[in-house]
Every structure is written in structure tokens, then in C-alpha cells.
């Protein structure tokens, strides 16, 4: 059981994810016309990448090195979900609505629990609209 835990952890998952992506990167390019000519650097790097990844995994298992990212803590997960929803919301509802609700939700999650909770989001809206949209002329989807 211990050895299974040593192998199947966040650290190795991250490395395997990186290798999988690089495999897709190489393979999808090779399939294209003129693909082999476009991977003169990528191909040897991929093999080197796999080699060094195996070395790192073996090293971490053998030496019992730190394999926890501390990313999956409740507060951080909530934070990431809120941020992701905000980014998706930008596309659907625009900056004004998303910014307002995002600020309220995230500041609440981070511990802002009083009657003034609506003031910072409102100020943020003013900054977004007047400073970025009007003054700097950034074409934000409002």
C-alpha cells in the first residue's frame, strides 16, 4: 500500500500530465504534412524530457521527497473555482456583472463578513468602467 501511495501522488501526476502533453505535442505535429521537418528540436527534447521525468519520479520515490502541493485545501479549491467561474462569466455576462459578484463571493470566502461587503465591489466596478474602459480605452466586454 505504501509503495502505491508513493507512486500515485500529485507530484507524479503532474509529471505524467506534462509528459502526456509533450507526447500529444510531438505526435500531433508528426502527423502533419512537413511535420517531421517541424520537430527537429521537439523530438530529441521529448526523449530527453521523458528520460529526466523518469529520473525525477524514481528519485522522489526512492528518497521519499515532498509530493504534496497543498493545492487541494478547502479554501484554495474554493478560491480556484470562484476564479474559474469569474473567468467563464466574463464571456457570458461581461465584466460589470461578473466583477461585482466575483468580488462579493471571493471576499466573503476569504473572511469579509460585515454590512460593508458591497462597498469594495462597487468601487471595483467604478475602477473597471471609468479607469480601464473610459480612460485607458480598453475594449472590455461589459
Amino acid at each position: 500500500m505504501k509503495i502505491v501511495k508513493k507512486i500515485f501522488n500529485e507530484f507524479n501526476f503532474f509529471i505524467i500530465l506534462a509528459i502526456s502533453w509533450s507526447f500529444y505535442f510531438l505526435n500531433s505535429t508528426l502527423k502533419l504534412e512537413e511535420g517531421p521537418e517541424s520537430v527537429l528540436l521537439i523530438k530529441p527534447l521529448f526523449y530527453f524530457f521523458v528520460g529526466i521525468s523518469i529520473f525525477i519520479i524514481v528519485e522522489s520515490v526512492a528518497k521519499n521527497l515532498n509530493t504534496k502541493s497543498q493545492l487541494f485545501e478547502q479554501k484554495k479549491i474554493y478560491f480556484l473555482i470562484t476564479v474559474l467561474l469569474f473567468f467563464c462569466g466574463l464571456n457570458l455576462f461581461g465584466y460589470l456583472i461578473s466583477t461585482f459578484f466575483f468580488y462579493i463571493i471571493l471576499s466573503y470566502l476569504l473572511g469579509f463578513r460585515n454590512k460593508f461587503i458591497l462597498i469594495p465591489p462597487f468601487l471595483a466596478l467604478i475602477i473597471v468602467y471609468f479607469f480601464f474602459h473610459k480612460l485607458l480605452k480598453i475594449p472590455l466586454p461589459l
Partner: protein, 497 residues
């Protein structure tokens, strides 16, 4: 040594109302970031980077370097007041700065720190002003094989110096090179690894990667803290003592001169940065001091040595960035992004094609140092209030600013998603000690390497060993091998012990 025509033209570029405003706002932001523990210069730079799009290149770069300078100095203020280095470069300042505070000499210590920072930074940019032309001459000798050898050396060197694990630094460097090659190949026109997204055909936007990689992990670590600093840093300030410290530091010529020289040389080394510079200078000052036993107990010489080297390292790292396009730290990596954002590519060609701009930047930085003297003294009085900002107010605001910055780069919501993905990648690289700086170096130089490899293959296909006919390539390769030997020798020695 100096091209006076370009220099005068560069000074002319600075004669705009925007410049003092850029220096003032950049310095203020940098000082605020510097005094907030856990906030790095790279984070501040990453946030303002896309916002500089509406500025001209020189104003944008002056703004960014002002943030950088301000944060280096701000880090020292906090180190003295609450024994917490606001930036890594301020570690050595805590050693004698905080004991001075405990003795009630915090105003004098702040004066010493501000004065030494200004002197160190000023001297380093003065050296850069004279050295930039010869350095650029050397940089222009770098062809494909030389750049390839240099990139490998930098990734290995960063791994040895910065990371605990060399293998992980190399992994990060290679990963960065692979990611940078997403998009259309320059030679064949083939779109590589785009997952079918047309937005990736021009490659991964480097600026967005930088913001995500450095800013999101910082904010993630702020999530678990109620306020930015839980300690009380409100101390009584006395302007007379502050000035006493300022003048005391000026008189310590030997200490700040040695500190500045150490800072400039260490700053040139990739990844060594301000922390190693200030610690080396501190150790040197202690070794040759008559009051060795007072070091660590509130010795003013210790503060002067540490802070002069801390800010002098900035000029050193800017020298290597301007002449070779190699960022020596996370902060200079973001500044490199600033150059790219304005269509400038640091390296030998930058000085040749944009001499006035480079001189303008150096002279602008010299001016910054004079501004710094006044601002740092001013900020020292208000530092207590700034570090009390609650994270529930700051974090959402910074996320909103970053999303606007990312969107503004290409007017694409897609870039905001890239920001998120690279934020997660940055967190993993940081937490698992994969040296994010190596990843950034790979990301910046990866495209160039791809082109260089092709040229090297064409030029040296008959005999690959011909690569080493170039003296520069041979010397750099030798340094890489020696660095590796040094690393393994000490690793084996440490194991035996």
C-alpha cells in the same frame, strides 16, 4: 565607451511630463509591494505589465524598472522594522537592521538602509552606462551555436544555484522550451500542438504566461492569511534620526563601495540575484571589519553592506538582460516581457538599433535612484498602514486587474483562460521546487533555440564538432561542464560527510 550622440538623444526622450509620473507611480507601487511580506516584485510587475500597453516603450520600461527598484528598497524597510524581509534580497538586512530596531535605533537604521540603497543602485547604473557598449559588442558575436550553448549553461546554472534539485530545474527548462514552441513553426509554417485553437497559432502569449506563473501562486498563498502582515509595524518615527542614518551611511565609503562592486558582479550571474549579493557583501564586510563581534547585534556597517549590494545587483542583472536578453531573476523575466510587449528584443541588436532608448533607460534609472531617496524616507513613515491591508480586499482586486490586463493584450477572453492554466502550472512548479525561473528562461528562449538548432544542423551537418571551433561556444560549454562537475563534487562530498 559612451556614444554621446545616442546618450543625448536618450536624455531628450526622457524630457516628457510622463517620465516623473512613471517614476513616481512605479516607485510608490514598488515600495508598497516591497514592504508587504509575501508580495514579490515579480508579482507587481506582472500586474502592471499589460497596463503599460498604452504607454510608449521608454515610459513603460521606466515604470517597470521603478517598480523593481522600489520593491528592492521596500523589502529592506520591513526587514528592519519587523525582522521580515519583504523581498529575498533583504534577508541580510534583517541581521543587523532588526537588532538596531530592538535597540530603538530603527529610524537611524532606516536612514542607513535608504542611503545605501540609493548609493548602490546609482553606482550600478553608472557602471552600466559605461559598460553597455563593450557588453553589446561582445553580445553581437553571439551566433546560433553560441546562444544555444548559453541557454543550456543558464538553465544548468540556475538549477545549481537556485533549485535544490538540478534535475527538476532542467525538467522545468525543457518544459518551458517545449511550451514556447506551441504555434506555427517559423521554417515550415506548420501549426504545432495548438489543440485546434486558432488563438494558439501565434504561440502561447508570453506575457500572460508570466502573469499567471508568478502572480496566481502568490495570491494562492495569500488565501490562508487574514491580513497581509499580522504584526504591528507602527513605530514612532523621528525624522532627525532618519537623516542621521542617511549621512552616517554616506561616510562609510569603503563599505558601500565594496558592497556595490559585489552587488554588480553577483547581479550579472543568472539566478544569483539580490539575496546572494547582499549576503556575500555582508559576509565580506564582517570578515574585514574591526567590529566583527558587533555584527548580528545591530552593527550599522552590516546594514550598509547588505543594502548597497542589494540594490547594486539590479544594475548587474539589467546589464545581462540588455546585452544578452537573459533574465537573471523572476523580476527581470517580467521586465523582459515588457520589452517584448513593445516590440523590442533585448540582446546585441537592441543597443545597435535602439541606442537612444537603451541610454534613456539607463539615465532614467539613475534619476530613479535620486527620487528613491525621497520616496523611501516618505514611505517609511506610512509603512505600518500599508501592510495592514486585508487579503479579502486585495486578492479579488488583483485577480480583476490581472484578468483585465490579460484580456487587454489581444482583446481575447481566451487569454484569460491561459492565465488560469499557467497559474496552476506555476503553483505546481513552485511547490514542487521545479524552479519556475528555469521554465521562464526556456519559455523566452525556446523559439530562438528552435531556429538556432535548424541553423546549427544546416551549418554543421557534416561534422557536429565544428560547433566548438567558436571560442565563445567552447568557453561556455566548458563553464557548463565545470559547473556540473562542481555540483556533483560537492553533492558527493556532502553525502560522505
Amino acid at each position: 565607451m559612451i556614444n554621446f550622440g545616442d546618450l543625448m538623444e536618450g536624455v531628450g526622450l526622457l524630457m516628457s511630463w510622463k517620465m516623473p509620473l512613471a517614476i513616481f507611480s512605479g516607485m510608490l507601487l514598488g515600495l508598497i509591494i516591497g514592504v508587504i511580506p509575501g508580495m514579490t516584485a515579480a508579482l507587481g510587475l506582472a500586474i502592471i505589465l499589460p497596463l503599460t500597453l498604452s504607454l510608449d516603450a521608454l515610459t513603460a520600461l521606466i515604470l517597470m524598472t521603478s517598480v523593481y527598484t522600489g520593491s528592492l528598497t521596500g523589502g529592506g524597510i520591513l526587514a528592519i522594522l519587523i525582522n521580515t524581509p519583504g523581498t529575498p534580497g533583504a534577508v541580510a538586512t534583517t541581521l543587523d537592521g532588526y537588532p538596531m530596531t530592538r535597540k530603538g535605533l530603527h529610524n537611524e537604521a532606516l536612514g542607513l538602509q535608504i542611503s545605501s540603497s540609493v548609493i548602490g543602485g546609482f553606482l550600478s547604473y553608472l557602471v552600466l552606462l559605461f559598460a553597455i557598449e563593450p557588453m553589446t559588442w561582445l553580445a553581437l558575436k553571439f551566433g546560433s551555436s553560441e546562444m544555444l550553448a548559453l541557454t543550456i549553461f543558464v538553465i544548468v546554472f540556475i538549477g545549481i544555484l537556485q533549485g535544490k534539485y538540478l534535475s527538476r530545474a532542467i525538467f522545468a527548462g525543457v518544459f518551458g522550451i517545449l511550451v514556447s514552441n506551441i504555434g506555427t513553426s517559423v521554417s515550415t509554417g506548420v501549426a504545432r500542438g495548438t489543440f485546434g485553437f486558432a488563438e494558439l497559432e501565434d504561440g502561447v502569449p508570453l506575457i500572460i504566461c508570466i502573469i499567471g506563473m508568478f502572480a496566481i501562486p502568490e495570491l494562492l498563498s495569500l488565501v490562508n492569511r487574514k491580513s497581509i502582515s499580522d504584526e504591528d509595524v507602527q513605530k514612532n518615527h523621528n525624522i532627525q534620526d532618519l537623516f542621521k542614518g542617511i549621512f552616517k551611511a554616506i561616510k562609510k565609503i569603503k563599505i558601500w563601495l565594496t558592497g556595490s562592486i559585489v552587488g554588480i558582479f553577483v547581479g550579472v550571474l543568472p539566478a544569483a540575484g539580490a539575496a546572494i549579493a547582499s549576503l556575500s557583501s555582508y559576509s565580506l564586510a564582517k570578515k574585514f571589519s574591526k567590529n566583527k563581534e558587533n555584527f548580528g547585534k545591530g552593527e550599522p556597517d552590516g546594514v550598509v553592506a547588505a543594502e548597497s549590494a542589494n540594490n547594486a545587483s539590479e544594475g548587474g542583472s539589467m546589464a545581462i538582460l540588455l546585452s544578452l536578453g537573459i533574465p537573471g531573476s523572476a523580476s527581470t523575466a517580467v521586465i523582459l516581457g515588457g520589452f517584448m510587449l513593445h516590440g523590442l528584443v533585448p540582446g546585441g541588436g537592441l543597443f545597435r538599433d535602439n541606442g537612444p532608448l537603451v541610454y534613456g533607460l539607463i539615465v532614467g534609472n539613475l534619476l530613479q535612484m535620486i527620487f528613491l531617496g525621497f520616496f523611501a524616507a516618505f514611505i517609511a513613515f506610512y509603512v505600518g498602514k500599508i501592510v495592514k491591508v486585508k487579503s479579502y480586499l486585495l486578492v479579488p482586486l488583483l485577480i480583476i486587474l490581472m484578468s483585465i490586463g490579460s484580456f487587454a493584450y489581444r482583446n481575447l477572453i481566451f487569454d484569460v483562460y491561459i492565465l488560469f492554466i499557467f497559474g496552476i502550472v506555476g503553483w505546481y512548479l513552485k511547490k514542487f521546487e521545479f524552479t519556475p525561473l528555469s521554465f521562464m528562461i526556456g519559455l523566452f528562449l525556446g523559439r530562438q533555440i528552435d531556429e538556432d538548432i535548424e541553423r546549427v544542423i544546416i551549418l554543421f551537418s557534416d561534422n557536429p564538432l565544428k560547433v566548438f571551433e567558436s571560442t565563445i561556444t567552447s568557453v561556455i560549454t566548458l563553464f557548463t561542464i565545470l559547473s556540473l562537475c562542481y555540483y556533483f563534487f560537492f553533492k558527493i562530498k556532502n553525502k560522505k560527510n
